[in-house]
């Protein structure tokens, strides 16, 4: 197959993947829930912190990172976009659609990368809206303590939050492709993502390892003021953390590709 026809077929297959994801309710809902949860919860968290702020010590106020805390709701919002990524692939196996997909597109690499492309593109659009709206809503809810997008590091954190969500979705696609089942993938990803909210990443002894988990590393991109509490400090900076997440994504996507390539459908 020459390059033009390969490109044409990749375009056709990506378009087909786009049709697939918007014609099933579960994937549409997962994608819609991402901004809803992130923005709604972001607003609530900021409102709560604002009252704490008003009664807090000067020291506490000085180390407070409104940008990071404004994005705190993404730790829950990300669950929805991860579910989206998982369903995109797992739904094919659960329903047997994978057989129809491979019968139409027997070149497994073409099918896989078209799916990754379509899935992450949709996730990126969703993440872009989520990140910016969450930022503005949360900062508005902080009232006088909020910052503008022009504040130091705020734009980087917001763009970073968008990349973070997109990468988490890509990671989920890769994991689901490796495990070939929504249930199995969610069974691994959900506990993994709750480790973070359980704060295990801050326990000194396990932190050495846990700080390199995909979400723990990637989410640092939303920090503007490095935490002075050593428990929250990391061995890498914001971009370093995002690079760790990118490494996880690359490994997961390649793993998913190899599984699809080798296994019987």
């Amino acid at each position: 197959m020459n390059r033009t026809s390969l490109a044409a077929s990749l375009a056709a297959v990506s378009h087909a993947e786009w049709i697939k994801m918007r014609t099933v309710r579960s994937t549409v809902w997962a994608l819609l829930l991402t901004p809803l949860v992130s923005v709604g919860l972001g607003w609530l968290v900021a409102r709560g912190l604002r009252s704490g702020f008003e009664n807090g010590t000067a020291e506490w106020r000085g180390s407070f990172d409104p940008v990071h805390w404004g994005f705190y709701s993404l730790t829950l919002g990300q669950l929805a976009i991860v579910v989206f990524g998982v369903l995109l692939v797992g739904g094919e196996y659960g329903s047997g659609t994978i057989r129809a997909s491979l019968a139409v597109v027997p070149r497994r690499g073409a099918l896989y990368w078209a799916k990754v492309l379509a899935g992450t593109s949709a996730a990126f659009a969703c993440a872009l809206v989520t990140a910016f709206v969450t930022f503005f809503v949360a900062q508005a809810a902080f009232g006088p303590y909020g910052v503008s997008l022009g504040a130091g590091g705020a734009l980087r954190a917001t763009v970073g939050a968008c990349l973070y969500l997109t990468l988490m979705c890509a990671f989920a696609i890769g994991v689901a492709a490796m495990l070939r089942s929504s249930a199995a993938a969610l069974g691994i990803l959900m506990p993994l993502l709750f480790l973070g909210s359980q704060g295990l990443g801050n326990v000194p002894k396990v932190k050495v390892v846990l700080q390199y988990l995909p979400d723990q590393a990637g989410f640092v991109i939303t920090q503007v003021i490095p935490p002075d509490d050593p428990r929250f400090a990391r061995d890498y900076g914001p971009w370093g953390g995002l690079a760790v997440l990118v490494a996880w994504v690359v490994v997961a996507l390649i793993g998913g590709y190899l599984v699809l390539r080798r296994r019987d459908a």
Partner: protein
């Protein structure tokens, strides 16, 4: 045309397909007959490159399935396990297939009408009856107007009207010069639709012959004769208008005659006969007999 050559497939310790070789030719309905678990679905999945053969090879229109350009335009398939997401509307299922297969979207409406799903095309597939699901699967198979159809148990779950419809459809597709390869575990179903039969049991080809030949050999009653003078007996019977063939177990099988006439002819010609018996079998019995041995072997192997 589908050419299967020395195909084997092993799942773990089970040898599901064992050195299968046969050719599915265009212009006729080829029935792929065998009991459940004989390896029919595995073979069909391998034809579509969904499962990789352990050894052997398959050529579809002369090449590998994965090398076909726009495979949906060459091969339409209906797989037994189903391949439709229940949360998707029937029309949407056909739309993404058409898009991925680079088939004009207008074709979606055509196949929906062709299989008679107009009234439920906007409904989600999980609400479908088995029969409606089969019709949707057949619509998907016909989407690319393919020259080859691979249908795994297409009559499953269809109501009598649906069964009649699919029989007619398969025959007309073959009459248009297409290759129609259809599996079933029911001999009676094959007898009504297939022009050619490939019978498998325990992953191996047990028979590969025309339907007419299969019926001739198996369904009509015939007389089985054991004699130390087979050549003379054959001449005598043939001269009397019977059709005679040598069976694998040394018996002579005489058609278009009966036991009394064979006895009379033997006496009149002074022929020694050790056994004369009448055999009549239905197609279903013939099929069972053919596959019984293979099944027994497997039962023995599993013990």
């Amino acid at each position: 045309m589908i050419e299967v050559e020395n195909l084997s497939k092993r799942y773990g310790r089970t040898l599901a397909v064992d050195r299968l070789s046969f050719t599915v030719r265009p212009g006729r309905v080829t029935g792929f007959l065998g009991p459940n678990g004989a390896g029919k679905s595995s073979t069909m999945r391998m034809i579509l490159d969904l499962d990789a053969p352990t050894s052997g090879r398959i050529r579809v229109n002369g090449g590998r399935y994965r090398d076909l350009r726009d495979p949906l335009r060459h091969v339409g398939s209906l797989l037994e396990a189903g391949s439709v997401h229940g949360g998707r509307r029937a029309r949407d299922h056909l739309r993404w297939l058409a898009r991925a297969g680079r088939i004009p979207e207008s074709r979606v409406r055509e196949v929906i009408e062709l299989v008679g799903l107009q009234s439920v095309a906007g409904k989600r597939a999980k609400g479908f009856s088995l029969g409606m699901g089969q019709r949707l699967g057949i619509a998907a198979a016909l989407l690319g107007d393919p020259g080859i159809l691979v249908l795994d148990e297409p009559v499953n779950g269809l109501d009598p009207e649906g069964v009649r419809w699919i029989r007619g459809l398969m025959k007309s597709l073959a009459a248009e010069g297409r290759t129609v390869f259809v599996s079933s575990h029911l001999m009676s179903e094959m007898a009504l639709t297939a022009d050619h039969l490939v019978v498998i049991g325990r992953g191996r080809v047990l028979a590969d012959l025309g339907m007419t030949e299969f019926i001739e050999r198996n369904s009509r009653s015939h007389v089985r004769i054991r004699t130390p003078e087979p050549e003379r007996m054959r001449d005598v019977l043939t001269a009397a208008g019977a059709r005679v063939r040598q069976a694998d177990d040394g018996f002579l099988e005489a058609f278009e005659t009966d036991a009394a006439r064979v006895g009379d002819l033997a006496a009149a010609n002074g022929l020694t006969v050790h056994e004369v018996s009448t055999w009549s079998a239905s197609l279903e019995e013939a099929f069972m007999r053919l596959t019984a041995e293979a099944t027994e072997h497997r039962a023995g192997a599993e013990r």
